[in-house]
């Protein structure tokens, strides 16, 4: 193994077949497009992260003393828009998904490689427009674009931001379309639905949401743009419209969008936990079906964001009840991951640490979701820091932990190099501690009654805000570390070998980095997924200790 690994650098792979900007910018190789996405979303992650740090610094003291109120409003708006639309939504699907979906099912590429490239370009066009908007004044509506503030009152660049997200929507739609078609049509012989890796199941569920939800936000934001630009009266009550209709349409997409972010992360964890427990995942069918159930039920719960907005009492009751339905498949997943470790052979490698972190933080995020779905409590905590803490536990504690876990798990495959394991574990610990310190105090703040989007606040909230700001700086260090040692490993990292974790997926049966068409011959699948009982233990991992 070690001897073959020495030759990996010289072997032909998708990274060294062609060089030069042209070979990257006009590529139709799903792996190269995945790397293009990786670089772009990392950029937006740090832009959004910078805004987050500014927000936290402003909130260090009760008075609004670091930035002006208007600047603060732009900061949280653009933090939200960039993180949601330009980082979280494309994060796992467009990078790891793009890289892994064809390989995991034994295909040479996605069904529509050129459309795949087109969706990256759409993302870049949208991102450029967004950055132009940021740099020339920004937008201050909150990422939710609530009308009539966004259509009739804000004097910032709402149209530009709206169009950026509109265009970005097409990027998501095309990615989702590509995945669904690929998973249906391109599976290798023997790769039946019951043998699909769980990451594929969750990506499939995510893609369904992309396809059915994204068009609705696209048309909604387009109507906002029309209303602002051409003075149509659709959402503005002064022109005969109804602002609650906007909220309905907005959340019809934006609630399922939460599942766009969390489902792929769940898929990543479903890959990592069996691998580092050396065991078949517990209750494969239930974990797979719960992904689909989350995607479908996710479309039935949107108005739980509107409990105090003025919707009817009866529809509030319906949506509250439906909201609890989503919690069941989420709970099933957590229980199954836990049960997978039972009588396994567990190692604490970096990806596994992120998986532990994910399970812990997602559990807390999910449980606090129960608070918010309970009507009586939602009235009190709606639009407070409780909500902020809850969705950061899901989106950052869940989705970003999943993303980082997946990056560590598949980095040897993507780059052909090993990252320094000790640094990996350290970063995982820092992220976990920093995250909890940042966001746990916000639950208490929220129940105390501190509203969200406040530039200044009553002094009694200060201690908890200071804790949160302190945590955010630790978190920032935790996020910078992997970027540094990943880059370092590209040059100095030890060659990884084809399958350093001894993992079972098809993607591990090809070389690291893979060749342009992934497999020298189309693989024929004869085994179940996560067939770890019949896999030898990997050498590298055991050498590590």
């Amino acid at each position: 193994m070690a001897t073959t690994a020495n030759f990996t650098a010289e072997r032909e792979n998708y990274l060294n077949t062609e060089y030069g900007a042209r070979s990257w910018l006009l590529t139709t190789d799903h792996k190269r497009i995945a790397l293009l996405y990786l670089v772009s979303i990392t950029f937006f992650f740090f832009v959004g992260g910078f805004f987050a740090l500014m927000i936290r610094l402003e909130l260090l003291t009760p008075a609004g003393d670091l930035v002006l109120a208007d600047t603060y409003n732009k900061l949280f708006t653009m933090h939200g828009q960039i993180m949601v639309f330009f980082f979280l939504i494309p994060s796992i699907p467009a990078t790891l998904g793009n890289f892994l979906v064809p390989m995991m099912i034994g295909a040479k590429d996605l069904a529509f490689p050129r459309i795949n490239l087109l969706s990256w370009y759409l993302y870049i066009i949208a991102g450029t427009l967004m950055m132009h908007c940021v740099l020339t004044g920004g937008v201050d509506t909150g990422w939710t674009f609530y009308t009539p503030y966004s259509t009739a009152f804000s004097n910032t660049k709402v149209i530009e931001a709206g169009l950026a997200i509109f265009i970005n929507g097409f990027s998501s739609i095309l990615t989702g379309l590509n995945f669904v078609v690929t998973i249906h049509r391109m599976r290798a012989p023997g790769m039946t639905w019951s043998r699909l890796p769980l990451f594929i199941w969750s990506t499939y569920a995510t893609s369904v949401i992309f396809l059915l939800g994204t068009p609705v936000i696209a048309i909604t934001l387009l109507l906002v743009v029309f209303e602002r630009a051409f003075h149509l009266g659709i959402f503005d009550p002064n022109r005969g419209g109804d602002p609650l209709l906007f909220q309905h349409l907005f959340w019809f997409y934006s609630h399922p969008a939460v599942y766009i972010m969390i489902l792929p992360a769940m898929g990543v964890v479903s890959e990592i936990v069996p691998c580092f427990s050396r065991k078949r995942v517990f209750g494969y069918n239930f974990v797979a079906m719960s992904s689909i159930a989350i995607a479908v039920f996710g479309f039935l719960v949107w108005a739980h964001h509107l409990f105090v907005a003025g919707i009817s009492l009866y529809s509030a009751l319906i949506f509250s009840a439906l909201s609890y339905l989503v919690a069941v498949p989420s709970a099933i997943k957590v229980f199954n991951w836990t049960a997978t470790m039972y009588k396994g052979s567990v190692t604490f490698s970096t990806p596994m640490l992120y998986a532990f972190g994910f399970i812990g933080l997602f559990t807390i995020g999910g449980l606090t979701g129960l608070f918010l779905a309970a009507l009586g409590i939602d009235v009190h905590v709606h639009d407070t820091y409780f909500v902020i803490a809850h969705f950061h536990y899901i989106m950052v504690g869940g989705a970003v932990m999943g993303f980082l876990g997946g990056m560590h798990f598949w980095w040897p495959k993507i780059s052909g190099k090993l990252y320094p394991e000790a640094w990996g574990r350290l970063a995982a610990a820092i992220v976990f501690i920093g995250f909890n310190l940042t966001f746990f105090p916000q639950f208490i703040l929220g129940y105390m009654g501190m509203p969200r989007r406040y530039w200044q606040y009553p002094p009694e909230f200060q201690v908890l805000n200071v804790l949160s700001t302190a945590g955010s700086t630790i978190l920032a260090v935790g996020y910078l570390l992997p970027m540094i040692y990943f880059t370092w490993s590209l040059r100095y990292g030890k060659p990884a070998g084809d399958n350093p974790w001894g993992a079972s997926g098809l993607e591990w049966q090809t070389s690291s980095p893979p060749t342009t068409f992934n497999f020298d011959e189309t693989p024929i699948v004869t085994r179940e997924a996560y067939d770890y009982e019949n896999m030898p233990l990997p050498e590298e991992v055991s050498l590590e200790r």
């Binding site: 309905h248 039935l300 108005a303 919707i311 009817s312 009866y314």
Partner: protein
């Protein structure tokens, strides 16, 4: 093997069928425009929507070949798209329709 599965060769529909569909659609258009001028109360909307749905079904089944496709997946896609559209319409309408009750 693959040529037998294909829709290409074995589903060339007679042109008379297409003309028949066209005739039906034109007649239904005239009917819906005519019925709209008769006072049926609330039924006007219902009739208009029933006729429109009838026309849409005919187009989907014959012009878009869904009736003849061997591919179940196409039908699944069509049904799930309509299903989720109805969820959007029904659940948001549920709010508006019950607002006055409370």
């Amino acid at each position: 093997m693959s040529s037998q599965n294909s829709e290409h060769s074995d589903h060339v529909l007679p042109s008379g069928l297409y003309w028949g569909i066209w005739f039906t659609l034109i007649v239904l258009t005239l009917v819906t425009a005519w019925v709209a001028n008769i006072d049926l109360g609330r039924l006007n909307t219902v009739v208009a929507l029933v006729i429109a749905t009838g026309k849409a079904i005919v187009v989907v089944l014959f012009f878009m070949h869904v009736k003849y496709t061997s591919e179940k997946l196409t039908k699944v896609v069509v049904f799930s798209a309509i299903f989720f559209l109805l969820i959007l319409l029904a659940l948001s309408m549920a709010d508006y329709a019950t607002r006055l009750m409370s």
